[in-house]
Subunit: 197 residues, 2 copies
């Protein structure tokens, strides 16, 4: 029964994206304040009840589906003998490569965050999930004892990445491939600060 009906899955993903698109465009045009789940459902052409079948809550619809590392990447990372941090960045490269990035959607999100700053914490909550995955990867190589250190590193990397994402969303000339490069540059800036200690 595993890996069957991909047609259904594609429809599901499509509907999910349509709901997110509806939520973002309504939030941008009418304001997030006063945006109701009924409005989103109507705009997406579904019932309110179906909206809640796709997303746990209104905020999740704004954020959209979450990405995660595939098994091959995890396996590769575990076996690799290179230095930890570059390997984590390489894993991110693979992740961004597999998940097809939608610059238009990212732009909408960025504009919404500027217009409705109260949503920023929601996105940081979502970013935390990526950070947790990075931390899990790091722990594969450092051992559970280093969980706190892994968390700290993963937070820094994921925030640098989020930073870079905003840059990428607003720069049509920037290639997706260079995202992790810019993220690395951001991390070097951070290291520069920490050299003051």
């Amino acid at each position: 029964m595993a890996l069957k009906s991909t047609l259904r899955d594609r429809r599901r993903l499509q509907t999910s994206r349509e709901i997110q698109r509806a939520a973002l465009s309504l939030a941008l045009s009418q304001g997030y304040e006063g945006l109701t789940t009924e409005m989103i459902a109507a705009e997406a052409g579904i019932s309110q009840r179906t909206f809640f079948n796709y997303f746990l809550n209104k905020e999740a619809a704004i954020i959209g589906e979450t990405v995660s590392f595939d098994e091959e990447t995890v396996a590769w990372f575990r076996e690799s003998s290179g230095p930890l941090v570059p390997d984590l960045l390489q894993a991110l490269r693979r992740l961004l490569c597999s998940s097809d990035l939608d610059r238009g959607m990212s732009q909408l999100i960025d504009r919404l965050l500027n217009k409705a700053p109260e949503l920023v914490p929601i996105f940081y909550g979502s970013l935390k999930r990526l950070s947790d995955q990075l931390s899990d990867l790091a722990v594969l190589r450092l051992g559970q004892d280093a969980r706190a250190d892994a968390d700290l590193l993963a937070e820094a990397i994921s925030h640098a990445l989020a930073d870079t994402f905003r840059i990428w969303a607003n720069d049509d000339a920037m290639a997706p491939d260079s995202i992790v490069d810019v993220t690395t540059a951001r991390l070097l800036v951070l290291r520069g600060f920490l050299d003051q200690l």
Copy 2:
């Protein structure tokens, strides 16, 4: 009219703490799932309506009041000519000194976060507010152009601090004064990772 009725203010702070205590203890004993604002209000001896006069929402009651840098510290920081990062840590030292830390409450929070991990994002949202304040401080010295860099640095520092807080909450032998010292040590660990780049 400024700086008047401190009696009223103290009562207000006391009620606020009592509500948070009620929320935390109920969440720990009965579980956060199924905890209603009416239950919290009843436990705290106030009406549900009054609960919402103190906190914008249920989650805010769990987190409690937010701290912020006082004007003297901001002024000191702006004028100081020392290196940026140590000065930021010094500002944190002053902040922790002025806000009287309640280890018992911190312990309750830490236990609740272990029991109900779905609340972790809430706390990261709250941590973000501290991070924003740190970033504002840094921008005073770096200029608005360096906002992105300041954000990155502030995130790293605030996460290292949050880390340290959990350690402090569970170690009765650890003095509040040493919190920032341990935070600095955490930041050095992070720098060690970044040296791999």
